[in-house]
Amino acid sequence: MGTAEGTGFVMSGRVLSGFLPLLCGLAAVLISNLPLSLTNGLVPAPLLGLVPIYFWCLVRPDLMTPAAVFAIGLLEDIVAGGPPGIWTLSFVITFGVIDRQRESFAGLAGLGAVLGFATASLIACVVAYAVTAALYRFAPVGPMVAELAMTVLFYIPGVYLIGIIHRRLVGPLRSEP
């Protein structure tokens, strides 16, 4: 009986681990897109959905799958209200770049890690801007730069929180013994 319960716990833990990056990504998208502004619209909301994508793509790439990235981007598109499909495509392309350059990104630490995430965010923003300009119209660059800055600013608390969640529910980080 005790063995069966233990097996069930492990199974449910593995299932939770498997879905944790997706759930965190969806939650981050919902939080960042809550239509509540503390700054009275002075600065745009950050792309918080990109933080879990970047984090798990480096730490546990087997948990952050392309399908999960697609789902996170799709939710971002639905709740953000912009041109449909833009963030889905930009998140997937950014994920592809991080995935191919994983060893380079994962070797960064400290300020370098922040710059690595800034690079990933820049890729996402450039793709979104380019697709919007190609299919719709040229948007001013200022709000996009502000969103990029906000996203990088929120990376540090975001990745700290996700690190805690990962250690509690999945296991140690890649760099930890």
């Binding site: 619209g41 449909p84 889905t88 997937v92 719709y136 969103e147």
Partner: protein
């Protein structure tokens, strides 16, 4: 948990899903371009579902904003009080002028049998959310299709127009602000009744795209909605022309960032009816009305119109030297001059 092992890298064939997902994302972008209504429905369903939470979460944020704003006001309250007293005195004078002018306009309209402006019905709605993204500036209202809110309707606050309804769910609706990148509003520049398009570009002050090349803008010109297209009521105050960086932009009267309660104007321009037969200019000039059936050949059709011209084409005695030019003048103009 600490001893869990994992694969650091995916296998080589793991790139295949990425290619498929990228292709799907591309399809999604194109589908969104072709059928944006699919996404709009999903957005409205989510917003409707989140409405109670948004309404509850918005209240403490508003209080927080007021609390923070009160510190700034504390240091400027004396100067602000003096300024408001001065402004109040001037506004009282203007109010008296406006009351007199309104009465005069009403009398003129009655004398001229002017068509009265269509009545406006409005729905009072509360702002329960705001979103500021690079491609969208919007606010969410707690009124939707259940309150007769429809896409395209104008949203105003006490100062002026804020935007128009973009999506209407059952209980909530999204407003596309005048400053939004996708906002295009037909406006009139007063004085002079000059037509233009107010173009939002995600900056605080939208630009003006004048329809005529010879329009000269001046700082202080008033911008109101023109009503062209029949979606928005004419005459809604929008803003003032200001000079900025060598060009002209519109300083909006309403501040969408601080608006809490707004009105959604239910305006529907009645379909234009053709004038009654006796009111047609041709009939008033003594000509037979044009018939809908163009079966007659052009020559035959022109003949009856040319015939009654002769009585009204009277050559003025001051110009006897040019009799040949008289028959070519439009008969209707001559008739007008005679009247």
């Amino acid at each position: 948990m600490a001893n869990v092992t994992w694969k650091i890298a995916r296998r080589g064939n793991a790139q295949l899903p990425l290619v498929i997902v990228t292709a799907l994302a591309l399809v999604l972008v194109l589908l969104g371009k072709a059928e944006p209504a699919l996404f709009d429905r999903a957005r409205m369903a989510m917003t409707d579902g989140m409405r109670p939470f948004l309404a509850a979460a918005h209240e403490p944020i508003v209080r927080f904003d007021r609390f923070v704003g009160s510190f700034d006001e504390l240091f400027a309250v004396y100067q602000e009080n003096l300024r408001l007293k001065d402004e109040n005195a001037r506004l009282r004078q203007w109010r008296n002028v406006a009351v007199v002018m309104e009465d005069r306009v009403k009398r003129y309209q009655a004398l001229l049998h002017a068509v009265p402006d269509p009545a406006l019905h409005s729905v009072l709605a509360r702002v329960i959310g705001r979103a500021n993204r690079p491609f969208l500036e919007t606010m969410i209202l707690d009124a939707g299709a259940a309150n007769n809110v429809k896409p395209g309707q104008a949203v105003v606050d006490a100062k002026g127009m804020i935007g128009r309804i973009y999506l209407a769910g059952n209980r909530t609706s999204w407003v596309i602000l005048l400053t939004d990148l996708n906002s295009r509003i037909p406006v009139t520049i007063a004085p002079g009744n000059r037509q233009a398009i107010l173009v939002g570009d995600n900056t605080a002050m939208p630009s003006l795209d004048t329809l005529s090349q010879i329009v000269t803008l001046r700082p202080g010109d008033q911008i109101v909605s023109s009503g062209d297209g029949g979606l928005l009521p004419p005459g809604l105050p929008i803003g003032t022309v200001v000079e900025q960086g060598g060009g002209y932009r519109v300083a909006l009267l309403a501040d969408a960032a601080s608006s809490e309660d707004v009105e959604v104007l239910a305006f529907r321009q009645p379909p234009e009816q053709p004038p009654a037969l006796p009111e047609l200019p041709a009939v008033a000039a003594g000509l037979p009305p044009a018939t809908a059936a163009p079966a007659a050949p052009p020559a035959a059709a022109a003949a009856p119109e040319a015939k009654p011209v002769k009585p009204v084409a009277v050559a003025p005695p001051a110009k006897p030297a040019a009799p040949a030019a008289q028959p070519t003048s439009p008969p209707a103009d001559d008739a007008d001059e005679e009247r």
